[in-house]
């Protein structure tokens, strides 16, 4: 798992990954929320049949949500491979996952089709190109609901038009430390973008991981949406880097102390909950990206962050656990990772 994180990429010190997803619906079917299980099975067959020609060459595996255990479902969500909404309609939903995990085609999420592409680093242009190619392949066999004035028709009017949601996951520890996130929220809103924490609720962002995405889907072309995001993200990256530089130059010792304390805790913990672990891992990632830690294996911190999420731990161990047991296993996984570094 987490194969989608492979490859070295642009701005990896701040940008974790780029994602695009497009919403598409077929003309002749009721939208997923109102469709019967029988109808959804027929739609799923239609989609699979349309892909038959390409199925093997694309190397997709097909998974029905009803065939997964609850913890397997959650684990796919934690790995960002499917959306939380996909598992809401257990009997109707399914997905196709490409073996490099960079493409997921979700069937009967809020819309009949959600095509998602996920690439590491700042890579929205490639993401969109890949997404659009898959869209073209599907469109050659299926009739998508489309109107000249409103574009692609979606179950919720908030997605109508391009149906495109492009987003970038960023690690912003120093902008968070400096208390700049609120002003960033305001600034982004003015240009039609939103920012939210990846994990955690409300304004709290566990592990200092954020997602910036476009808010509207009608009126701009896909290229304009991508271009705007690219420009804004580049500015946010520069801000984060400048803040890191400022903190290192002016509060260097305090910052180093904070980061190496996290290193110490993670190397020695015996029980650690998810939130505490994420925040310390964020510090270690920052130490690596700021060249305070040099072992190259630390560039896999994001993978480790996913591996220690509650459902992924349980899926990897193949059993249900209470919180204390999870905290113990989590501490073991992290210590092993850090010991391996030192060894």
């Amino acid at each position: 798992m987490t194969k989608w994180l492979d490859n070295d990429t642009l701005h990896q010190d701040v940008v974790v990954s780029s994602r695009t997803r497009i919403a598409r619906n077929l003309t002749n079917y009721t939208f997923p929320l109102y469709m019967s299980v029988g109808e959804s099975d027929k739609l799923t067959d239609d989609i699979l049949n349309s892909m038959k020609e390409n199925y093997m060459s694309w190397n997709f595996k097909f998974v029905r949500i009803r065939d997964l255990t609850p913890r397997e479902r959650l684990s796919y969500i934690e790995e960002h491979l499917i959306s939380p909404d996909l598992v809401q309609k257990i009997d109707k939903s399914s997905f196709l996952l490409r073996d490099d995990e960079k493409v997921t085609i979700m069937i009967n999420e809020e819309d009949h089709l959600r095509i998602q592409t996920l690439l590491p680093g700042l890579n929205l242009t490639d993401c969109w190109e890949l997404c659009s190619n898959i869209d073209d392949c599907l469109e050659s066999e299926l009739e998508f609901a489309f109107r000249e004035d409103l574009g692609y028709l979606t179950a919720c009017p908030t997605n109508v038009g391009t149906g495109l949601r492009a987003s970038v996951m960023l690690h912003l520890p120093c902008l968070t430390m400096a208390g700049n996130i609120n002003s960033l929220v305001e600034a982004l809103r003015k240009v039609g973008l939103t920012i939210r924490g990846i994990y955690g609720e409300g304004s709290e962002a566990i592990g200092n991981l954020y997602q910036i995405s476009n808010q509207t889907t009608l009126g701009e072309t896909e290229e304009e949406i991508i271009d705007k995001l690219n420009k804004i993200i580049t500015q946010v990256v520069t801000r984060e880097r400048n803040t890191r530089k400022y903190l290192l130059e002016n509060k260097g010792l305090e910052l180093e102390d904070r980061l190496f304390r996290s290193y110490g805790i993670l190397s020695n913990c015996r029980l650690i909950n998810s939130k505490e672990a994420m925040n310390h891992l964020s510090n270690v990632k920052l130490a690596y990206d700021a060249h305070l830690l040099n072992d190259e294996k630390f560039d896999k911190i994001i993978e480790l962050m996913i591996k220690i999420r509650p459902a992924t731990i349980q899926k990897d161990c193949n059993k249900d656990m209470d919180q204390e047991e999870r905290d113990k296993i989590r501490a073991n996984i992290i210590r092993d990772y850090f010991l391996d570094m030192e060894g």
Partner: protein, 172 residues
């Protein structure tokens, strides 16, 4: 401070109620507060209520919401308002009058400018051609170039015929 209802757990909700000028203070724990009908514990940020607010802006009051139903999927406009989700692609046509202002207030735009499915491209090109020719026709009439206007008018007629042909092929 203990919860005034169960007298067991610590009170974490403190509120003041004013009824007919009478001030009452209440202190409840999480669990009893949830059972208290004075609170609306619809914690999930309710998206559908956002839609209701959009209607407010469009001068459609809840009591006189349009009583229309999609002829294709049977979804009523009221159901759409409750769930925030449309029933099928045809709903966009059937509810067009009421949906368009909503779409515009969500996106700030009313017209798609992005990707077009290959199957719709020939039709759309013809529509654009008609739009272009119509502008030319208006220009010709304005300049009193009636001969040119007649040629353009015939051209528009031809393109419209082609457009109708495509429409019936697609069963549109």
């Amino acid at each position: 401070m203990l919860c005034e209802s169960c007298h067991k757990r610590v009170a974490s909700f403190h509120f003041t109620k004013i009824v007919n000028g009478q001030i009452e203070e209440h202190h409840l724990c999480d669990i009893c507060a949830k059972e208290n009908t004075d609170f609306d514990f619809d914690n999930q940020f309710s998206f559908n209520k956002l839609f209701t607010n959009l209607f407010g802006n469009n001068e459609i009051k809840e009591e006189n919401l349009p009583d229309i139903t999609c002829s294709n999927c049977g979804l009523s406009f009221k159901e759409f308002q409750e769930t925030g989700k449309l029933g099928c692609a045809k709903c966009y046509d059937e509810f067009s009058l009421y949906l368009k202002p909503i779409v515009k207030s969500i996106h700030g735009h009313g017209r798609h400018r992005g990707k077009i499915p290959k199957s719709s491209r020939p039709k759309l090109n013809l529509i654009k051609e008609v739009e272009g020719l119509t502008t030319q026709l208006e220009d010709a009439v304005k300049k009193e170039e009636f001969e040119r206007a007649a040629i353009i008018r015939d051209e528009i007629k031809k393109v419209k015929e082609k457009l109708q042909g495509i429409g019936s092929e697609c069963n549109d």
